[in-house]
């Protein structure tokens, strides 16, 4: 009797709902997202996802470093499913913490955004830029290149985050080393730049301080600066000596408690709907979906001078780079 009812119900569903119901994605009903992105964007997409698939999403918001510490601490008993934040190679550089996942949606993503090692789901891309405050610096007086930041006229006027506490700042540092040399020559440029800088502990403090006019110039990621461009307070310089254009990170935690929901969330973020929503609501971020255009005020990727980023070198030498940078900070920031 029961079996027959079930069969009937299933048949009814097939007729009424067609294949949509048969293919309704499976998930655990819960998802825990660790996110270092701004709350508004995290809340927006987790709510959109939760409403669409009936998943109860919880978020833990903190800096990338804190979240990675936490995932490492919880290794034996993971509590989070997703690490949403950090750079594209964060996953590949910590295979003990993250699982590979190649979403079927990657077929629609710009090929150069795809992680060769298969850990990252690239939902957006960002460039490292020089941001200036329009009231304090006329557009024609703003620094044109990274090298300009080492000039004496910018002493004490540049704010930058500590690369050991901010993946964006580390991205800028590896960019400089790739432009000016990974040897002592490059490091001496870095040292000259650092001497001019005030180092803060959080990357979001950089665009905030420049946007509010506390500093004339800062080194930051495009999205943080772009919100102040839209508000009329800030300007962006894409350095003439080249910049990094890299996908942002989204990784699935190893042995995550809700692996199906986690993969579904990854598929969702690179879906056409979510990518269009990204440009509409958070125009500072570059979509990765082929054919979706960036905000009109934002320089298209084709017009940027992008360096050939050696991700393998950057992730293999991360510890030494951070170590040496710590010495530069100790030397220049007293």
């Amino acid at each position: 009797m029961k079996t027959i009812t079930k069969l009937l119900a299933a048949a009814g569903a097939m007729i009424l709902g067609g294949p949509a119901i048969a293919q309704a994605p499976q998930h655990e009903g819960n998802l825990v997202v660790y996110a270092s992105h701004p709350s508004e964007m995290v809340d927006h997409f987790t709510k959109m996802f939760g409403d669409k698939y009936g998943v109860r999403v919880t978020t833990v918001k903190a800096g990338t470093g804190e979240l990675l510490n936490r995932i490492r601490a919880e290794r034996g008993r993971p509590a989070g499913d997703i690490m949403w934040g950090g750079f594209a190679d964060t996953g590949a550089s910590a295979p003990d913490l993250f699982d590979e996942y190649r979403s079927p949606g990657l077929a629609n993503v710009e090929p150069r955004m795809i992680d060769a090692k298969g850990y990252n789901t690239p939902f957006a891309a960002t460039a490292m830029v020089i941001m200036y405050n329009k009231k304090l610096v006329p557009a024609d007086k703003a620094p044109k290149s990274w090298a300009d930041l080492a000039k004496p006229e910018w002493k004490g006027k540049v704010v930058h985050a500590d690369p050991s506490k901010s993946s964006a700042a580390l991205g800028a540092l590896t960019t400089w080393l790739q432009i000016y040399g990974k040897d002592d020559k490059g490091w001496s440029v870095v040292e000259d730049m650092t001497r001019n800088q005030t180092i803060v502990i959080r990357s979001s403090l950089v665009f905030q301080q420049v946007g509010r006019g506390e500093y004339p110039v800062g080194v930051t990621y495009e999205e943080g600066a772009f919100n102040y461009v839209l508000a009329g307070a800030g300007g962006i310089v894409y350095p003439s000596d080249g910049t990094l254009l890299e996908p942002e990170g989204m990784f699935i935690v190893k042995n995550s408690p809700n692996p199906k929901a986690a993969r579904l969330f990854a598929d969702f973020l690179i879906s056409e709907d979510a990518q269009k929503e990204l440009v509409a609501k958070f125009p500072g971020r570059r979509p990765t979906f082929r054919g979706i255009k960036t905000h009109p005020d934002m320089l298209p990727a084709s017009e940027l001078k992008v360096i050939a980023h050696d991700a393998k070198w950057a992730s293999e030498n991360r510890a030494q780079i951070l170590d040496r940078m710590q010495k530069v900070i100790v030397k220049t920031q007293n």
């Binding site: 800096g63 502990i201 946007g211």
Partner: protein, 563 residues
């Protein structure tokens, strides 16, 4: 005969045995609890800090690193520098403010005390950020003054930190000195004045020495608060680094961090605060004197000019201290243009937090309430043990509870994570660990409140109850607790009001499900949404202030209980 005499002795012995058992068991349980929540985590932090280093393999390697590298040890010197100066300036500001507010017939006297209470409800972190909004290089006040050609010194660096700490913490001195002034007899002042001393000389030679215990107690509270503060220096310190910022930085270090180094730095921080607390206890014991004035110092009518000047001074100081709160409340009603606020009033910020405040609000109230109830129950039991059952374990308990004053939140947070991460007691990420952290951090409020009341209540009634056959537990619940009701309630209100704002331990212990309003404020400030952060901050101000209103109006408590 002998049978009759033996009859009543039997139950009495049993009761005596029961007394021993009930309170011995309670003492043991409470000792285990506070030991497990405070001593064990601290011991673990010390243990981790002594891990063998990679370079020399020595146990003290991380301490040697700290004291041999200028970048590190300079933070300790910087912390001491700002804390000592904050202590000095808070005293220079707090003592005259208290003196004028209590001795002169300044206008708006009743407002002063309410305003001082308000300075205690400033929400964490956003209060510090307010100073940048007001006095930063492009701050509201800075720009206003610049328009008139006036330039003010920078809010950044050591001078800014000292300025903010002075205004933030002088109320400790104000409240303690106000209470100290009440215990001085008018005859002392009269004698000095009759012998021809001027008012200032009288103050310096006759009154100030009697205020010494209040001033030193307050000054050391200012020192400890300044020494452990993270929010202010992280925002306005810039190149001027202090020890708590260094610890936080090492703990949140990207790609692994250096927890061992962070532990060693924590131990150094804890050593200084513990030392300061010991000095304070030493001094307060030495200065302790009977403090009942037969005829307390009177309020004096002043000539008009003096009255105007005193009123201006008091309100200038208090007005400055209240600036961050005013800024938060005003900002919460300002319209946001992307990340920037513009001068148009709106309720948008409140509308934007509506759909996501439910969880943090519920968590905040739930954790705070449970922790407060725990504090009230266990704090009262501890107070009873400390006052009524002196002995080795009782004084150990007293010392542990006082020690929790000296443990900075960030150090407690790190210790709890280190101690309660692995099964069988895998508590990290749960609500319980936050509740327990709040409980142990704020326990002294309840204990102190009940201790001071219990010392005034005679134990005759309790003895009578035991003699009439009630057991010790029954006596405690039916006799002692009702006698302490007001003290327990006022301790609980203070606990609640202080716990609801907790940030430094919560930052380390929270998980997404256990986020609180203070955490949401922190995240919004660092992400640059000052409007939303202000709306959340205003709600927190209200939640902190309400219990205090009950405390001071319905219970008739004096503001001094805040310190």
């Amino acid at each position: 005969m002998s049978a009759i005499a033996a009859e009543p002795a039997e139950p009495r012995r049993r009761r005596f045995a029961a007394t021993i058992n009930f309170w011995s068991v309670t003492t043991a349980v409470v000792l285990l609890l506070v030991g497990g929540l405070l001593l064990l985590p601290i011991a673990n932090v010390v243990g981790v800090s002594l891990s063998r280093g990679a370079q020399t393999g020595g146990l003290l390697e991380h301490y040697i690193t700290f004291f041999s590298e200028r970048f590190y040890y300079q933070t300790l010197l910087n912390s001491l520098w700002v804390s000592v100066w904050a202590m000095v300036f808070a005293t220079l500001v707090g003592v005259p403010t208290a003196y004028f507010a209590n001795r002169y017939n300044i206008w708006g006297r009743s407002l002063v005390r309410a305003a001082v209470v308000l300075t205690f409800v400033s929400p964490p972190f956003i209060g510090s950020y307010s100073w940048v909004v007001l006095f930063g290089r492009s701050g509201v006040v800075t720009q206003f003054l610049n328009a008139y050609g006036v330039s003010i010194p920078s809010i950044y660096g050591a001078q800014g930190i000292i300025f903010v700490f002075t205004l933030q913490f002088f109320p400790f001195i104000f409240l303690l000195v106000s209470s100290g002034l009440k215990s001085i007899d008018q005859s002392i002042e009269d004698a000095a004045r009759n012998l021809g001393s001027s008012e200032f000389r009288t103050f310096r030679t006759a009154i100030a020495p009697l205020l010494a215990p209040s001033i030193t107690a307050g000054a050391l509270l200012v020192f400890i608060a300044s020494f452990t503060d993270l929010g202010t220096p992280i925002i306005i310190g810039e190149r001027f680094r202090v020890l708590p910022v260094l610890i936080y930085g090492e703990f949140v270090n990207e790609f692994g961090g250096r927890p061992v180094l962070a532990s060693a730095f924590s131990v150094i921080l804890l050593t200084v605060t513990t030392g300061a607390l010991l000095v304070q206890r030493r001094l307060s014991a030495r200065y302790a004197h009977a403090s009942a004035a037969i005829r307390p110092l009177e309020l004096r009518e002043q000539p008009l000019l003096k009255r105007i000047l005193a009123t201006a001074f008091v309100f200038l100081v208090i007005g400055a201290a209240l600036l961050p709160i005013a800024n938060i409340i005003v900002s919460s009603f300002l319209k946001a243009n992307g990340p920037l606020l513009v001068a148009t009033f709106t309720l948008e910020n409140y509308a934007r937090i509506l759909d996501r405040i439910a969880l943090p609000l519920w968590n905040t109230i739930f954790f705070t309430t449970v922790a407060t109830l725990l504090c009230a129950v266990i704090g009262t039991a501890i107070a009873y043990i400390v006052v009524r059952r002196p002995g080795a374990s009782s004084s150990l308990l007293d010392t542990i509870v006082m020690f929790s004053y000296a443990v900075p939140g960030i150090v407690l947070g790190v210790g709890l994570v280190v101690t309660y991460h692995e099964p069988p007691l895998a508590l990290t990420g749960t609500s319980l660990i936050l509740i327990l952290a709040y409980f142990i951090r704020r326990l002294p409020f309840s204990v102190r409140s009940s201790v001071s009341m219990l010392q005034q209540v005679s134990r005759d009634t309790e003895d009578a109850s035991v003699n009439l056959g009630a057991g010790p537990a029954m006596t405690f619940i039916r006799i002692t607790v009702p006698a302490l009701a007001v003290a327990i309630l006022s301790g609980a209100l203070l606990t609640w009001s202080n716990t609801i704002r907790e940030l430094s331990a919560t930052l380390i212990l929270q998980s997404g499900d256990t986020t609180t309003i203070a955490i949401e404020i922190f995240n919004e400030v660092v992400n640059g949404n000052f409007g939303i952060a202000s709306a959340l901050g205003s709600i927190l101000i209200l939640l902190t202030f309400l219990p205090l209103v009950v405390l001071f109006t319905a219970l008739g408590k004096k503001e001094e209980v805040l310190v």
